[in-house]
């Protein structure tokens, strides 16, 4: 409960006492989003604030929402196989907008041979079918930038 007694009070911004904000996004033309909803619910139960935007999101919509909501992480779920078209576009738009402090991860049907390329885009985690919820929750907690608020954007 006690506050840190820093000399420069304005730099004392406690990122750990606020809930992690996550955007769960479903890009592409997948018609069903049960998996994304299960993940959204699990993250909520882990104490996070989950912004869920529904299906058929374009890369522009995802990045626009991530900026306005100032999320700590974006989780994209995709089943249709369009990931190699959509993910680079999302990463490019983030870069164009100078968003470099947001954790990006992906889930859904991602063939093994694509994973190195996906990771090379800057997408830090790939979670296929059968992944334990605890694993995703731990991944988000451990990889979101701890000092986002203390950094000038």
């Amino acid at each position: 409960m006690a506050e840190t007694n820093g000399n420069n009070r304005s730099s004392v911004i406690d990122d750990t006492s606020r809930p992690i904000r996550v955007l769960v996004a479903k890009p592409g033309l997948d018609g069903h989003d049960r998996g994304a909803k299960v993940i959204a619910r699990a993250l909520r139960d882990a104490g996070m604030e989950v912004i869920y935007t529904g299906i058929r999101q374009t890369p522009e919509m995802i990045v626009d929402a991530a900026i306005q909501e100032d999320v700590d992480a974006i989780l994209m779920s995709i089943l249709s196989g369009a990931h190699m078209a959509i993910f680079p576009k999302v990463m490019e738009l983030l870069q164009q907008n100078n968003v470099d402090d947001v954790l990006v991860a992906a889930g859904g049907i991602l063939p093994n041979e694509d994973i190195p390329a996906i990771k090379a885009m800057g997408i830090k985690g790939c979670f296929g079918p059968g992944t334990l919820m605890e694993e995703i929750i731990r991944f988000v907690r451990e990889n979101v930038q701890a000092k986002r608020l203390a950094t000038e954007i």
């Binding site: 004392v12 104490g47 929402a65 100032d70």
Partner: protein, 322 residues
């Protein structure tokens, strides 16, 4: 590089988004920034939208914003959803129904979790309104969590309150009850494409006719029918909102409301400061022991509160056990 306040004032959306995060986190610089933003705010018309869960608030807001965009307004939206009292987490899903507003640089949507506040908004919603207002958004629309009968906090934040009622949500006895039905400046009967809308309009009109203050009142609360699905009644609703805005200005109510809001705002800020100071001077262990003692009835909460009040610096005479 410009600081975050200047960038926000210049229309930088990321600066606005980060400002909101700082405000929500009650980060130490937030109050300093807000103090700067205060002089730039005050231009936006603040519209509150409240109603029961599933009444159609988000769909209505979406249509409302589309109409406001055709009138070339730059619109800010704050959509509040409830925080789980058990886990502290939240699912913020209002964007699902606002999908068609995506990609417009003159619309800014921010979802907020209520974070333990019970009045239908989050504790920091008013400050977030201030940030959007200063950033040039006008109007700013505040959509509350789905409300029951008592979540009336929105009336202390908004200038025009829309209470959204879906057809078939209750008989006319429900409508006479105190609470959110009393705070409406405009009633909106949503889902007018469904059966029962006319009856709901009639019931609300009946309720209004029973109001003893109505004859002296200079604003006649309209009851409007809308259908978000068929895009009906939306332009009439925007007209009514604008009419209310003019009424507020000309009748002097706007100034009155502003004064009431500032009063409660200053009181809230003082309360927050006291709570913060309390957290600073009382360690978690001590707090735990105090709570335990009171729970076991070895001590009483009144004496404990009085002692703590002195420790946060309140004068002795406010304490009842001198």
């Amino acid at each position: 590089m410009q600081n975050i306040v200047e960038r926000l004032l210049n229309g930088d959306r990321r600066a606005l988004a980060r400002m909101v995060t700082l405000i929500e986190a009650e980060a130490p610089p937030a109050r300093r920034y807000l103090a700067e933003l205060h002089q730039h705010a005050g231009r936006a018309h603040i519209i509150g939208v409240t109603g029961a869960p599933g009444a159609g608030k988000s769909s209505l807001v979406t249509r409302l914003v589309r109409e406001l965009r055709t009138r070339e307004r730059k619109v800010g939206i704050i959509a509040v959803d409830p925080t789980s009292p058990f886990t502290g987490g939240a699912i913020l899903g209002d964007r699902i129904r606002m999908m068609e507003l995506a990609g417009d640089p003159n619309i800014f949507i921010r979802s907020m979790a209520s974070r333990g506040s019970l009045g239908g908004l989050a504790a920091s919603t008013r400050d977030v309104v201030r940030a959007m207002d200063a950033a040039g958004y006008d109007p700013v629309i505040v959509e509350t969590v789905g409300t029951g009968q008592a979540e009336v906090e929105v009336m202390r934040t908004a200038q025009t309150v829309l209470v959204v009622v879906a057809p078939g949500m209750g008989d006319d006895i429900q409508a006479i009850k105190a609470g959110i039905l009393e705070i409406a400046d405009i009633f909106v009967v949503s889902k007018a494409d469904k059966p029962g809308a006319d009856q709901t309009v009639a019931e609300l009109a009946m309720l209004l006719s029973l109001d003893p203050h109505r004859r002296q009142a200079t604003w006649r609360i309209p009851v409007l029918k809308t259908s978000a699905l068929k895009v009906q009644g939306i332009s009439e609703l925007v007209d009514a909102i604008q009419k209310h805005q003019v009424y507020l200005r000309e009748s002097g109510s706007l100034a009155q409301r502003a004064q009431r809001q500032v009063q409660s705002e200053i009181q809230n800020l003082i309360l927050q400061t006291v709570v913060k100071e309390l957290k600073r001077v009382v360690s978690e262990e001590e707090w735990h022991t105090l709570v335990e003692d009171v729970t076991k009835r070895e001590r009483d909460p009144y004496r404990v509160a009085a002692e703590l009040a002195v420790r946060v610096g309140l004068k002795q005479r406010y304490c009842i056990f001198d």
